[in-house]
Symmetry: C2
Subunit: 343 residues, 2 copies
């Protein structure tokens, strides 16, 4: 009935806003806004007064409101299939670390489906993401369309795309295969095999091309190809098939380190093969484990940090000029020679 009742009715503590800070500091709300906007026109003394008031209240700017007003969310959507793969986890880690330096953050969309487009990704548009970065997945034509219409760039890491609006950054896939083949040839191997990822992986396909074509140039045509499905166990099965074949390979190139580990273990434990004497193995990625003494894997590197950096650089360019065509960049890698190949 009385006034008190009204003011007391349920003390929900709201987060302080600019207006609260303004009141305490004795300035206008817009002054507070300017105090927190880099480069805005505001007197030094005023800003300090405001900062002090803000600290006193425990004020945190509401970035969602800011985004609404500025039309820039500083949110980057990251679509990632199988985070469990250390290589992609590393890419995610790198992206996150590098983005934070420009005040941006990652909205995570995981998916367990490899190489297929997650319908949930439309949500990134609803969250007003400034860009979408995809790893180990591809954007469908339809998704790309929607993002283009919204002016939100898409960058794929490690997957090729024929879609006009989609930028891509990848490692030197063809060269990886080529270099692996050359290295094996130099060490006088005779029987070659390739453990591919999945059938639809463009990445795996490019590596295979580089490998096979280089071997073909040296008159080696009978290269066994098996699929490891980009998993440890898948590769282990593929390896069993290889070693049980009538003509077991003495040189195996794997489309990923992870698969190489699977092959390596099967070779050692189930077939008692000596590495690199009986069989040599080369992977791709150079994940941290590759350098562990347990694996000591020769591999063609695909530097996560560089991939992340390039992806972000593309994002920046596309945001700066939305009408720009898709950008396609290759990031250099190199053969890192370790104990899984002959000296």
């Amino acid at each position: 009935m009385n006034k008190k009742k009204t003011t007391n009715k349920r003390k929900i503590r709201r987060a302080p806003t600019e207006s609260d800070v303004a009141r305490l500091a004795g300035v206008s709300q817009s002054a507070v806004s300017r105090a927190f906007t880099k480069g805005a026109s505001i007197a030094k003394a005023t800003r300090e007064k405001i900062i002090a008031a803000a600290r006193e209240l425990g004020y945190h700017p509401n970035l969602l409101a800011r985004s609404l007003a500025t039309r820039r969310s500083n949110i980057i959507a990251l679509a990632i299939a199988n985070l469990e793969n250390p290589f992609y986890a590393q890419v995610a880690q790198q992206l996150s670390a590098q983005l934070r330096e420009t005040g941006r953050h990652i909205l995570l969309f995981t998916s367990s489906i490899y190489d297929e487009t997650d319908p949930m990704l439309e949500r990134a548009l609803s969250y007003q993401a400034d860009a979408l970065i995809m790893t180990a997945t591809k954007a469908s034509e339809q998704l790309a369309d929607q993002f283009k219409k919204a002016g939100v760039p898409i960058v794929q890491i490690n997957r090729e795309s024929k879609i006009a609006g989609v930028s891509t950054v990848w490692g030197e896939n063809y060269r990886a295969g080529k270099v692996a083949a050359s290295h094996f040839l130099k060490k006088n191997h005779k029987n070659f095999a390739f453990v591919a990822g999945t059938k639809i992986s463009s990445t795996s396909h490019m590596r295979q091309q580089g490998y096979i074509e280089t071997l073909a140039k040296n008159n080696i045509k009978n290269v066994q190809i098996v699929y490891g499905e980009y998993s440890f166990e898948g590769a282990a099965n593929a390896a069993r098939k290889l070693f049980n074949s009538k003509n077991p390979p003495d040189a195996i190139f794997c489309a990923s380190d992870y698969m190489a580990f699977g092959v390596l273990e099967v070779a050692r434990r189930e077939f008692a093969l000596k590495i690199p004497i009986d069989v040599a193995i080369i992977g791709v990625d150079d994940v941290p484990e590759a350098s562990h003494s347990a694996y000591d894997l020769t591999t063609f590197s695909q530097p996560a940090a560089a991939l992340a950096k390039e992806a972000i650089s593309i994002v920046d360019k596309m945001i700066a000029n939305p009408n720009r065509r898709a950008i396609r960049t290759e990031v250099a890698g190199e053969l890192i020679i370790r104990g899984s190949t002959r000296r």
Copy 2:
């Protein structure tokens, strides 16, 4: 000069808004809002008309604006130290997958510093996150304070906390150690060792307690303790120390699978020990690799899915009742017996 000039001046294509949809559908903006709000009062025919118009325009609701109006962002901040660790990657994956079912998404904060509080986490407050979930990190007193003030719950996965406002969910750490010890004892082992994580990890400490106390009850006091720093290489070094000692162990319990892998590899390759005859090994976590034939590791499981589920459940409870005290839950695990221990 003429009117056309005004309307044509710079065709920046804005994303369509509810007002655009409303215009096309011939209804008010609020009707459109209601059409997209579950349970709102709106006629079926109207909604359909609106949905059609929305589809035609390619309308995506602006979730930031919605969050501003509803004071609920549906964003959950996830702080994760070393994503590269497959166990935590798995937890992240689980959280992401389970949260999406209730329409929530993860804002990712990675950190390479173990067990320390990342100052960047304040940003979660700015993004109006509905909650903060932390894995492999702990909230500082000060951070917890700020979140409590803002009414945003914090849940730590796999880290203990003495701070009042911080909820926690963890695996059966003490029991893991206890069960490991019992299993070793049953198999007649004589010389015991423990490979701990870091010195300040409460998780590692609990596991150690369970192990040591159980052994002590059986009159075994001289348990060697070494630190593996939760890394493969760290554990490998720890293992070298153990196997080179005057009394090398025949039973090693490791505070994580990952470290167990390091120990296992060193045992086999550098010391030519037969597992589990010469030395038996038990880990904790049950990461996917543990079941791979290469490792075939006996381990006390710490189910990522269950941890994630419990963390989310706590978040929900805390959001429903912000004044509630912190919740502490233990998630059951079990000893999964594989080839790294004697039959």
